[in-house]
Symmetry: C2
Subunit: 377 residues, 2 copies
């Protein structure tokens, strides 16, 4: 049982669709699948712009989201409050961009005021892009994309480039309505698919910037993906079996509806947090900035590693550990994608049993807390 | 029935392995799969160096094979006698390398003498790499890698970077014995897998060059893949379900043995060519430089498009058309990966039936010619 923030659970009918024999990627049958999945992705991204699909991990996808719109020496403002924010700063540096970081401690959200200050100070409009991680998977913090986006819009020159790897499909991001310029995500997160595909939606302002951008690229050149997408094709051989699965997964998501999907993720986030609190497990991210995809816990008096190991041994439930300096100190429970109420109840009840076995005195019943929150719908 | 040069047929047990539920990519269970597939890939590549696996198409993989070892302004000698050779020249140009091309007409092999001349003339050792497509999928030509590699070795400075996308696993390339510096391939070709993974083997000389190479990279930075591979891990989330399939596919290949695999591909290449000749269909590549993966035909008196359409309509067999200026003039039959004698016989017999329906007078029986060649083993 996968309760990590990606890969996430995959519905059986998606897996079986993926077990079909590959077909030619230039066949009319496959063009039809591309046309259908492209339409589904636009719906999911709430955009009229094409959503481009790359055979790449989330990192490769966000790299594409960054490098297609900038030139060496351009200044970028990068939000860094976790492993992924840090990674985008590294990528920007690797490509010779001038990186100005807005940081916050791991577990704390980025402060929109810091962005306001930096953007207002930039009267010469040197900042060409603001790069922000929406749901920081390493900490379980949800940064305030809506507020930061408004500040970027007020700046007028900078594009906003969003890592929505674990928030797209789990949290309402009205991409066109908010005027998000570039936003990327990955198949193994909110899409109910295995890893192997990344997605990027690009708005008109970003395509204008693309024309002048000179960072070198070929495989990650989004212009070629756009041209192909217009013809229901792909520039390079796509992972056709993942497309078979994506068609089914998007149909399932459309049947559920965006509102229901977001409400479900919110319910599971709140139920998980209620359960953790009842069990006396300190939450790493504050309630107001908690990710809908993953909940991070820094247990006291009982080891995070021991909890993960016993969850695996007793109940075959996979939790994720902490990353970098949080290794061994934190565990993370994913509740993203194809997750139902039963999964949350089951995971918290297993945690309750494991904590008891480890001699941890829980102040209250995790199961009761989860159950109470789930009943509210 | 897929008779195109990729995606290629996939064994049922590989497909079923891929339909298993994803597991955590940082779990010990998955580490074990990485360890096993890494060992299998080394066997298949005939190398002691780690073979790095990337979530990318063949193009992304060869881009990595090029950009990790060079710096802007470096001169590279690129063999171009088809769509893929042309693409590697484009990538080199996009990254600001100084491209010197050795060309041959589509359908003709690259002439090793041209490489000898260019390399011998380079007394200042300005050429940092020779980039060559082994099996040119767009034309069905197999370039003489062994001869060109010897010339590169004689030059002393340049690395050889090989696109073996459709030759690795179908033709004997003793990577370490020949001292190939960098060689890349893709999962949907000789590996009996769907698309989604690319592979690169890198030798010691290339790793030395890597240290000084300054082209920007992050997702395609092979150094990070190498570090992770040493720990049976991956730097970014890998396509775990494709790994499940790869484990099974590599086991099947190891059971068959390298010699048998190469002999099978050679037999199928020769049987296909014998069948085409009997049917009066002109072959695009010469016998001495015919790809073991794909046979290109430029039919006369009957349209290539009509042949492909009728093969699909009557027998549901997918052939590939020509690319770029050969569009509509050529068809290509793949015989790569999980292909057996029956497939070749079946495809040629279907072609015989289709040609007859199109009013083409075949000088002899394609089936008889194929059967005769197959009997020789």
């Amino acid at each position: 049982m996968l309760m990590i923030p990606g890969p996430t659970p995959v519905p059986e009918k998606v897996l079986l669709a993926m077990a079909k024999h590959p077909i030619g990627h230039r066949s009319s049958e496959f063009s039809q699948i591309i046309a259908e999945t492209n339409a589904g992705l636009k719906w999911l991204f709430q955009t009229q712009n094409p959503v481009l699909a790359l055979a790449a991990s989330g990192t490769g996808t966000i790299e594409a989201a960054i490098i297609n719109f900038l030139s060496a020496g351009d200044r970028v403002l990068v939000g860094n409050n976790g492993k992924f924010g840090e990674r985008w700063a590294k990528i920007a540096t690797a490509y010779g961009l001038e990186v100005q970081e807005i940081t916050a401690e791991w577990g704390k959200p980025l402060n929109p005021d810091d962005f306001a200050e930096a953007l207002e100070a930039d009267t010469s409009k040197a900042i060409k892009a603001v790069i922000i991680t929406h749901s920081e998977t390493s900490t379980g913090v949800l940064n305030d994309l809506e507020a930061i986006n408004k500040l970027v819009k007020a700046h007028g020159e900078a594009l906003i480039i969003v890592d929505a790897v674990t928030s797209l499909g789990s949290y309402n991001i009205p991409v066109d309505e908010w005027g998000i310029d570039v936003i990327g995500s990955g198949s193994q997160k909110g899409f109910m698919l295995p890893p192997g595909l990344g997605f990027v939606a690009v708005g008109d302002r970003a395509w204008e910037a693309y024309k002048k951008a000179t960072l070198p690229k070929f495989y990650l050149d989004l212009g070629t993906y756009r041209k192909s997408a217009e013809k229901d094709s792909t520039p390079f051989t796509p992972p056709v079996n993942l497309y078979f699965g994506m068609k089914v997964a998007l149909e399932m998501m459309q049947a559920e509806g965006l509102e229901s999907i977001f409400a479900r993720h919110n319910r599971h986030k709140e139920a998980t947090r209620a359960g953790m609190k009842a069990l006396g497990l300190p939450l790493f991210a504050p309630d107001a900035n908690a990710s809908p995809a993953v909940t991070s816990v820094v247990p006291e008096g009982v080891g995070a590693k021991e909890i993960c190991a016993l969850m695996k041994k007793r109940f075959n439930i996979d939790l994720a550990g902490g990353q970098d300096h949080m290794k061994g100190k934190m565990f993370r429970m994913g509740h993203l994608g194809y997750v139902g109420d039963r999964d949350i109840l089951c995971a918290i009840s297993a945690l309750e049993a494991v904590l008891s076995e480890l001699g941890h005195q829980a102040p209250a019943s995790g199961v009761a807390a989860v159950s109470e929150r789930l009943q509210k719908g």
